[in-house]
Homo-oligomer: 202 residues x 2
Amino acid sequence: MPKQTYFNLPQKKRETIVDGAKQAFARQHYDRVTIDSIVACAGIPKGSFYQYFTGKDDLYSHMFANIGTEKYQLLIQEFDSGPHGTFSEAILVLMRRASEFDGQDSVMVMLKQRFLQECPQQVKQQIMQRMVPESMELFAHVIRWFVEIGEFRQDFPIGQAAYMLTASVLMLDTYPLENGEDHRQAFRNMVDMLAAGLRLRS
Amino acid sequence: MPKQTYFNLPQKKRETIVDGAKQAFARQHYDRVTIDSIVACAGIPKGSFYQYFTGKDDLYSHMFANIGTEKYQLLIQEFDSGPHGTFSEAILVLMRRASEFDGQDSVMVMLKQRFLQECPQQVKQQIMQRMVPESMELFAHVIRWFVEIGEFRQDFPIGQAAYMLTASVLMLDTYPLENGEDHRQAFRNMVDMLAAGLRLRS
């Protein structure tokens, strides 16, 4: 976690720092990103860096937490504003929007790729500890809506259904595709199956 | 993947090498394990190492693949030999056995801990690409049994149900526990929910 000095900064300033960090981490291998390159991109004196963060990992985790929060807030808004078809359709629209968010520009594309390939495990674990609950909150939000309209049962643990969807999405690149199948289709089948468990018996 | 020279070795010799690798990788941080320390533990000349493996990562992935295969074969045998209660009970018994396998001695405990904390991401991804399908095969095996005895529907994709369980287990340490809940309980609720989706409607 960044230090209190950082959170005391005006929001604009914090955004500039995070944007600079995105540039620095998108440009080079995680191991080769230096505090010098970060402060150059963020336009802050090197001396302030350590007043704000405990180190490179700290800023990196904070940057990803920010990206995650922005993404999940956006997706929740999208869901709330749109008409929704079935549960599976709603989830798949959100997944498409999430991909669009991840691929919105070359910086985001590089950040994601480097996160998957270069980020040290302990840093990744820290980031996951924050990303998993946010993703779960999104799925729980959608499930709750289908409970409210009376399509899903009220007597099951929403958090755990949300967790299964989260884990399945986050590991989807390890899913062994069969002939002709793609990840999107495979995931759709998973969502359908879960929905079958959640649906009210007629 | 190890080279063909390695697979041409007698099985006993291959086991000695893998056992030596376990000692070497359990003892030190992944980054600090040297080829010298591996050949010392495995009792092979350094010259042969590169006739068998492309490098440290290669042997490490192979070693984990071996551990995984042994574990999942054992679990499948366990399932086949025992009486099974409900689907959830069967899955939870297997998860307990898997924990026992992972914690069978100090070498295994250290290997798992170092894998989670120290193994570089790209090596981890390679290992996951092999571990996920084996874990899925175990869950699919159990699900198929419940289909055969007529308790589960025949018309859903078993592979994808098996994948959801696998992803949920593999990421369980990121699941945010609520008051009084433990991981085992949370996972049990997930299994129950999935089973509700798979069960034949009465």
